[in-house]
């Protein structure tokens, strides 16, 4: 891993490299994760799940479970006092299944018992009458199949009205002359498998009844207030009767943006009037959260002889799985970034997400940009070859920058140093090939000791990508922060921003110390109880949004303090909003105002890989990257995000894929779903390109997603260079390299 220098701690202000406040407790094992929660008199909840990907649900007979030892409650959809459906953006997902189950593992009933084993055994006694239906598992056939959601929950939200069945959203972006011809054209079809967030801390939480009809839910989540707003209506409670408190999060990456145990735990707690804890096991975790959308992408790039892009035509098909989640936004992100960070006058982009009975998909780090970056970077390399132009030159020639515009017609008003990240990444020194003989761990095949150098070829790959920062298309996105100044000169900050391991707790403290000029700043527990929403820990937005909100609240607090003669206690809350966005035109996909996305960040990456071409085994040797990070609040944390994000993209490039059969997940374990270990990840040399973003507090940008966006195509480009194979599908596994 790259080395970050840690300067001496002065105050811990914006711009200083600071160790994470949760870092040492996490490595020493003292940090309490949500699965470590305990309460006196606590019961254990268990979720009964559908063994079918698609079935009609008949009667649910709970009688045998009710009287089992230790059992306090057995609940079905009939026991839901409020709304029977919930959803992150569209209320299309049953709290507990009724009439139909639409995916493998869909929750059907709940049990609470004294001991988790008693709950599990009682769950086994519940008899659910299923009438299995043909599962819809081929996304390419979805629009000809029977509708899974006849009520079309995502229609009428300002999206293009696509009458075909099973459309979650279909967006067409037309710019210039979509028929424009170039001198050369290259085309390709690309596929991306379903990636899982694979966070180590499974879904878990504790729901505690407050004795007055309300409930407190302590849970590992990404967006506390939106959890609350989904939980309360299902319980038939007012929002303030439901308080969501952030419990220790063991990774999120988008997978905790949708609800898991929140409503279930609260239902059981209110029903039994006891605290109820629910912890998913690993297998359950794989079915218990949404995944990255698998995609198929058809792309055609037309260019002039001198290498300028003339026309880019892309069709994207995303499999959304059974429920909408955030698929509509993923669909539009994929369309927005389909060309990549390149300027082109003519484009025709169609991005469609469909419902199927496959595992539900939603937010995952990179959010739509990952899939298309894999395709557009492969296309740029193909184009470079067709034109006999150096691939880096070709990218520089077409690089987008401030003042340039996207296929949606949006002009880049902030910073976007695409050419700069390309040049800086390309200028990094690539290490020489190591001498043979070498330790097996320094060869493809690793500990399997498969080669002493036989069959090994080396390849260097390059990729550039970009992504939006913040919520888009007119979403009213805001973050609240509350600052209390105490008589002794110390301060407390309240902010509901979820610390998911990205380091936002440090950001809050650093901003507060910078603004208040004091070191003694405490961070209150993240909760819905004491402060308004911080929005989601997603879309690389949190650092920007929290910086704005905490800055504004601190400044207001100081003003107030001055007014009060600098002695009394002060307590103020402020809300920060980023520049307003507007929707895309449903017919043309063009912006309807100044911007559909708030801002962008880009990254370029260079990868050296060695491949044993006889065995198909690989070793990623070295990764160098240059990333547009705005002003780095905590450079050490930025480097951490770059390394972690790169590893996640490398996982998609080389091994990570959920396998299904008729909609059933067949590899729901870390034995069968492989994720990279530290031995699969080389050191990362990262260059931070710090250009202050004009619209952002302190000039910051989000940094968590760009590395994940570019590392998959960069790794695969290196494999292509080493093998000469087309490798149009990720993950690339040995059979793709030595396959006949």
């Amino acid at each position: 891993m790259s080395e970050a220098t840690v300067p001496k701690l002065e105050l811990g202000r914006v711009g200083e490299s600071l160790p994470r406040v949760d870092g040492i407790p996490k490595v020493t094992g003292e940090f309490a994760y949500s699965s470590d929660l305990q309460a006196a008199g606590m019961l254990w909840g268990h979720t009964v799940r559908s063994p079918h990907a698609h079935a009609r649900v008949g009667t649910i007979d709970i009688s045998a479970a009710v009287g089992m030892p230790g059992v306090h409650a057995v609940l079905t959809h009939e026991d839901i006092p409020g709304e029977k459906r919930y959803g992150l953006e569209f209320q299309d997902q049953p709290v507990l299944a009724y009439e139909r189950v639409r995916y493998f593992g869909e929750p059907v009933a709940l049990v609470a018992a004294e001991h988790p084993e008693q709950a599990r055994r009682a769950a086994e006694r519940i008899r659910v009458e299923y009438e299995p239906l043909e599962p819809l598992v081929d996304p390419e056939r979805a629009t000809e199949a029977e509708p899974l959601h006849p009520d079309r929950p995502t229609m009428g939200h300002g999206y293009r009205d696509d009458p075909r069945p099973n459309i979650v959203r279909s967006l067409v972006i037309r710019q210039g002359d979509p028929a424009a011809e170039g001198d050369v054209a290259v085309s390709g079809v690309y596929e991306i498998g379903i990636q899982d967030q694979a966070f180590l801390g499974p879904e878990s939480g504790l729901a505690v009844p407050d004795g007055e009809g309300g409930v407190d839910v302590y849970v590992a989540t990404q967006w506390l207030h939106v959890d609350r707003d989904q939980v309360a209506p299902c319980l038939n409670l007012k929002p303030e009767q439901v308080r969501i408190h952030l419990a220790g999060v063991g990774g999120a990456f988008g997978g905790r943006e949708d609800l898991s145990m929140q409503i279930h735990g609260a239902l059981l707690a209110l029903h039994t009037n006891r605290p109820v804890k629910i912890v998913y096991n690993r297998e359950e975790s794989f079915v218990g959260h949404i995944h990255r959308h698998p995609a198929k992408i058809w792309a055609e790039h037309r260019a002039s002889r001198d290498g300028r892009l003339v026309n880019v035509r892309v069709r994207i098909l995303l499999d959304g799985g059974a429920y909408a989640s955030s698929s509509t936004a993923v669909t539009s992100n994929a369309a927005s970034f389909a060309v990549g960070p390149y300027a082109v006058d003519n484009a025709l982009i169609e991005s469609t997400c469909v419902y199927t009975n496959n595992p539900p998909c939603g937010a995952m780090r990179g959010f739509g940009a990952v899939q298309v970056c894999f395709a557009h970077e492969a296309q740029m390399d193909k184009l470079a070859e067709a034109l006999d132009i150096d691939p880096i030159e070709l990218r520089l020639l077409n690089a987008l920058g401030p003042g340039g515009s996207l296929p949606t017609g949006q002009t880049i008003t902030g910073t976007l140093p695409v050419a700069d990240v390309i040049r800086r990444a390309a200028a990094l020194d690539v290490p020489e090939a190591e001498e043979l003989p070498r330790d097996p761990m320094r060869l493809p095949g690793g500990s399997g000791n498969t080669t002493r150098g036989e069959g090994v070829r080396r390849g260097v790959g390059f990729a550039v990508g970009f992504k939006n920062i913040g919520y888009s298309e007119g979403f009213d996105d805001y973050t609240a922060a509350r600052v209390q100044l105490h008589a002794d000169g110390s301060a407390t900050v309240h902010c509901a921003a979820a610390e998911v391991g990205q380091g936002v707790a440090n950001v809050i403290l650093q901003v507060a110390r910078t603004e208040l000029g004091v070191r003694d700043v405490a961070l209150a527990p993240h909760t819905t109880a004491t402060v308004d929403s911080a929005g989601s820990a997603s879309a690389s937005r949190m650092t920007w949004m929290v910086s704005g909100a905490v800055r504004d609240a601190c400044r207001a607090a100081l003003e107030e303090w001055d007014k009060k003669g600098r002695s009394l206690e002060v307590d103020v809350e402020r809300i920060y909003r980023h520049p307003r966005t507007t929707p895309l035109d449903p017919e043309t996909g063009q912006v309807t105002g100044e911007r559909a996305h708030v801002a962008y960040a880009c990254a370029a990456m260079r990868v050296v890989a060695e491949v044993d071409v006889e065995l198909g085994l690989t070793r990623v040797v070295w990764i160098g990257t240059a990333q547009d990070v705005g002003h780095a609040v905590n450079p050490q944390a930025v480097q951490g995000q770059i390394e972690g994000g790169t590893a996640q993209g490398l996982g998609l490039a080389l091994m990570e894929e959920i396998q299904t059969r008729d909609g059933l997940i067949t590899n729901a374990s870390f034995t069968d779903y492989l994720i990279p270990t530290t031995l699969d990840m080389p050191p990362v040399v990262s260059e931070l390109i710090e250009e202050a973003e004009p619209d952002a507090p302190y000039g910051v940008k989000g940094v968590g997603e760009p590395p994940t966006v570019v590392s998959t195509p960069a790794v695969v480009a290196a494999l292509r260079a080493a093998t000469g194979r087309e490798l149009s599908r990720v993950p690339v596994r040995p059979d793709d390299i030595v396959g006949l």
Partner: protein
């Protein structure tokens, strides 16, 4: 469920069969019970009755993989196979006896699909995801035997001593048939006690994996040279560990559409293994 702790092999075998199972390190058995794939009302802990440790060329079946990977005296192929298997935590619990008797990783089987090996009619790997599956002996069940250690012992020509008999390790395994879908010949109340090794002039184990460490073999190749003769055995290519009588037999492989690459990997790895010894 009952847990018995017998103190002699006789007592142990007396308690085995009829819904009871031998428990060694439990790394394989416990997950199978949890997932409902093995039904057992009694577990017979064999820690005190099965020998543990290495004496000359004899290995107690209760020896852990972690102990073996550190043993400088045992042939290199076995030591490497142990070191490359599973993860350190599993190796410090898992025994060599249990390793030889581990079930397939075929996920249709592990998920309890009513497949041929479970007694059903169809092999789901045939028309489903199959890249992990077999290239030999796969006309009924196409599962791939996951044991690195078994391949090493097969190449080494080891023999087993059980509570009933002594026999070559090759005879522990059988291809399942319509009438008998077991992949081993061990009786329900028979315990493996010891493994007797031969001493090759040189041996090695090479393992192609989907990740650089901690994964099951795509193909594992064990090779052992005894004078002018070299014995080669493969893991991950057939429902049982596969002895390769000659390199040419690779041309007779019967891969599924998705497993042909394993033949290519095996070809290259076998060549490299032979060169290495």
């Amino acid at each position: 469920m009952e847990l018995l702790r017998p103190s002699s092999p006789e007592e142990a075998t007396g308690a085995l069969g009829n819904g009871s199972r031998a428990l060694a390190g439990g790394t394989e058995l416990v997950p199978l019970i949890r997932d409902g794939l093995v039904k057992a009302d009694t577990l017979v802990e064999i820690r005190d009755v099965v020998p543990r440790g290495v004496t000359g060329t004899r290995i107690g079946a209760g020896t852990t993989l972690a102990e073996l990977e550190l043993d400088g005296e045992i042939p290199q192929a076995l030591r490497e196979a142990c070191a490359q298997a599973a993860s350190p935590q599993l190796r410090s619990m898992g025994t060599i006896g249990g390793n030889l008797l581990q079930a397939t990783r075929c996920w249709y089987w592990r998920l309890g699909f009513d497949c041929w090996l479970h007694g059903g009619e169809t092999c789901f790997a045939r028309d489903g995801a199959q890249r992990e599956h077999a290239v030999f002996g796969n006309d009924k069940c196409a599962s791939a035997h996951p044991s690195d250690i078994a391949a090493a012992l097969l190449a080494l020509g080891a023999t087993l001593r059980t509570t009933r008999r002594e026999f070559a390790v090759a005879e522990l395994y059988r291809l399942p048939t319509d009438d008998d879908r077991n992949v081993t010949t061990l009786a329900p109340d028979e315990l493996i006690l010891e493994i007797e090794l031969t001493t090759p002039d040189a041996s090695t184990y090479l393992k192609a994996m989907d990740r650089r460490k901690w994964s099951f073999p795509i193909v594992g190749v064990a090779a052992a040279r005894f004078g002018g003769e070299t014995r080669i055995a493969l893991a991950g290519v057939a429902p049982i560990p596969w002895l390769l009588d000659s390199v040419a037999i690779l041309d007779e492989a019967t891969p599924l559409p998705g497993t042909g690459y394993k033949v290519e990997i095996a070809r290259a790895l076998v060549r490299r293994a032979i060169e290495a010894i």
